[in-house]
């Protein structure tokens, strides 16, 4: 990352949901800089807040969710302070766009897919009618849909899941966004289709000079596409760094657990490693390191005080007491230390 142009910067963001009179703290003081032109992956298990965090960049939180603290700077404006739909619309589509998880439900079933793409183009590119239609057909071609002229006039139900996701991507990128958020774009698809979609997004990113944010729970996806990775647990980012650093030099015990749970890492005939226990209840205040109760080698201080971020390299930071000089000497799990070797042995 020689280019350090920050395109979006979140600082100390806190997000709360009110659920039946109770307050749920979904995001607790999250800070993250996103650089222009990078591909960033945010990983974590369900409920870790990865989706909520990124949705707040585009004002798509559910109606009972609020940013209660912090700022999100983009183009010199603090979008965490945005209240009205009008403010958000200066951003949506044009600056930031999004591909959602389930292609089966994210298209209007009663409108021709061409019309749905054209709608976005007319809104953002200042063209109308036939001209917009041409661009829409061009977009369809670009996302790899054969016979785009014919397909233009078809309805979503005439498309397969993978094809629909291509259409959704076409809609998302048709307004030339600078940032594209992909919220688990391949989770609902066949494994065989997943790679094609990831490839397509990579290709489009290069072509249109976008910044891509992946939200995923699949480290396999991350390894394939991401420049940088941020690991989230219980509403906080616990470790972030270049993809290499996260894979081969992880420090947070939760990152270890995630890496160890990758099936690719297991030995044939041995049990797969799973992360024991369950994520914490976000309705109650979390004390110390949220992962401590599930950590098999937690420190006493993990239960008392929240760790700060420690620098490992200039780009790699982790939020764990293990990095404190006062921490007693210990060996990281062998499979984490030898990750590179294990991967090499598996692949070659």
């Amino acid at each position: 990352m020689e280019n350090k142009d920050i395109i979006l910067s979140a600082k100390d963001v806190e997000i709360e949901f009110s659920l039946r009179g109770k307050k749920l703290k979904a995001i607790r003081k999250c800070s993250l800089d996103i650089y222009r032109g990078e591909t960033l992956a945010i990983v974590g298990e369900s409920g870790s807040g990865k989706s909520v965090f990124t949705k707040s960049f585009i004002g798509m939180l559910d109606s009972n969710g609020y940013i209660t603290n912090g700022e999100i700077m983009c183009d010199g404006r603090d979008i965490a302070k945005f209240k009205t739909e009008k403010e958000w619309r200066t951003l949506r589509g044009k600056k930031i766009s999004m591909v959602m998880q389930d292609p089966m439900t994210s298209l209007n079933p009663l409108k021709k897919i061409g019309v749905q793409i054209k709608e976005a183009i007319e809104l953002h590119r200042g063209v109308k009618g036939a001209e917009a239609k041409d661009i829409a057909i061009e977009m369809l071609r670009k996302v790899g849909i054969p016979e785009p002229e014919r397909r233009y006039n078809q309805y979503p139900h005439e498309f397969s899941g993978g094809m629909r996701q291509r259409v959704v991507i076409a809609i998302a990128v048709s307004c030339n966004p600078e940032i594209l958020i992909c919220d688990e774009p391949t989770t609902a698809l066949d494994v065989t289709i997943q790679a094609q979609i990831l490839d397509l997004i990579r290709k489009l990113k290069e072509e249109l000079n976008m910044t891509v944010i992946y939200i995923t729970h699949d480290l396999g996806v991350v390894a394939n596409v991401a420049d940088r990775v941020a690991v989230m647990y219980a509403g906080q980012i616990v470790e972030y760094g270049l993809a290499e650093e996260i894979f081969f030099d992880a420090w947070h015990p939760y990152t270890w657990a995630l890496l160890s749970a990758l099936p690719q890492l297991g030995e044939k005939g041995e049990e797969l490693e799973a992360i024991e226990g369950t994520p914490p209840n976000l309705f109650v205040e979390i004390k110390g390191d949220a992962f401590a109760p599930r950590n098999k080698r937690a420190l006493a201080i993990d239960f008392v005080k929240e760790p700060p971020f420690f620098d490992i390299t200039e780009t790699h930071k982790a939020k764990t007491w293990y990095l404190d000089p006062r921490c007693p000497k210990f060996e990281r799990p062998s499979n984490i230390v030898n990750y590179r070797e294990i991967i090499r042995r598996k692949v070659y």
Partner: protein, 305 residues
């Protein structure tokens, strides 16, 4: 934190700690009632319903007149409400208070009995209809036939052939009222019947009636209550309509329909003849409808957390 430095030592792993997610033990009915009582409006509505319900009995015993043996006295006709006749008198000088409250009680009783009957028949048939594949065609056809013949034909025929009385009416309403309940139950059973856990349960040899009662019925509670909430005001309305048309209760039983039918000619000049029964029945039906809807919401497992 002076001794923070001393906390840097490893602690043993405690698996129970790791599983502690802080969600309390879940009990279906407890959640239902907690959800219900959280909504002030619905509790108030339930309260109002109960108060009026109890008051119907008190009101009748307070009355100086026996509602079934009221004397006609043309000198007293259209007496405005006063100390002697609290709700005034009707066109032939009969006390209106005892008639109105008697009608209220009749309405509630009829609606309660019919609702209960509808539930029993509807749920039983709905469960069989939904669960036993072979029965589906038969019940669907039966449903279509009963449903497509205007109900008024059955009711008119019953009124003409069998007669007009409280119980005849209760049974005939029950007999045609189970249809929507059965259809609702059937559709839900259809949805849940082939869920994996039921297939698994069947593979283990669980008898069908047990699967229906233990695995499927709980899902239906919310829908059943919703139907009840609709059925009770519905029955009250049907009774009044039928009695108004002369197909319901016999003319000498004061019931809502009969009262309004008698009042139809006069209430433009003597509005109290309309106002008292209207207010009474409106309070009951609205209160029950709202409370029932709220309870149905509370009973829906999806709203539990």
């Amino acid at each position: 934190m002076e001794n923070e430095d001393e906390l840097f030592y490893f602690v043993p792993y405690n698996p129970e700690h790791a599983e502690a997610i802080g969600s309390e033990n879940y009990s279906y009915w407890k959640s239902v009632f907690r959800n219900f009582f959280k909504k002030k409006v619905s509790v108030i509505m339930l309260g109002i319903f109960l108060v009026v319900f109890i008051f119907t009995f008190i009101a009748l015993s307070m009355s100086k007149f026996d509602p079934l043996n009221l004397k006609t006295n043309s000198d007293l006709s259209f007496t405005k409400p006063n100390q002697e006749y609290w709700f005034g008198t009707d066109n032939i000088g009969r006390d209106y208070w005892s008639q109105v409250w008697y009608a209220t009680r009749i309405s509630i009783e009829l609606a309660g009995i019919v609702a209960l009957g509808e539930c029993l028949i509807g749920i039983t048939i709905g469960l069989i209809w939904g669960y036993v594949r072979k029965a589906d065609g038969f019940f669907t056809e039966l449903y279509n036939i009963i449903y497509n013949v205007p109900r008024i034909i059955y009711l008119t025929l019953i009124a003409l052939v069998v007669g007009r009385s409280f119980w005849i009416m209760a049974f005939s309403l029950m007999f045609f009222g189970w249809l929507p309940m059965a259809r609702n139950v059937r559709n839900l059973v259809f949805m849940y019947r082939d869920r994996e856990y039921n297939l698994a349960s069947r593979c283990l040899g669980t008898p069908i009636h047990r699967i229906l009662l233990k695995n499927i019925l709980p899902y239906l509670v919310s829908v059943i209550i919703l139907r009840l909430a609709l059925s009770i005001p519905g029955t009250i309305a049907t009774e009044s309509t039928l009695s108004y048309l002369g197909l319901g209760l016999d003319v000498n039983t004061p019931s809502l329909g009969i009262l309004l039918r008698n009042a139809r000619t006069y209430f433009l000049d003597f509005p109290y003849l309309l106002v008292f029964p209207a207010i009474n029945v409106s309070i009951i039906t609205v209160a029950f409808y709202l409370a029932g809807n709220a309870f149905s919401d509370a009973a829906d497992p999806k709203t539990h957390r």
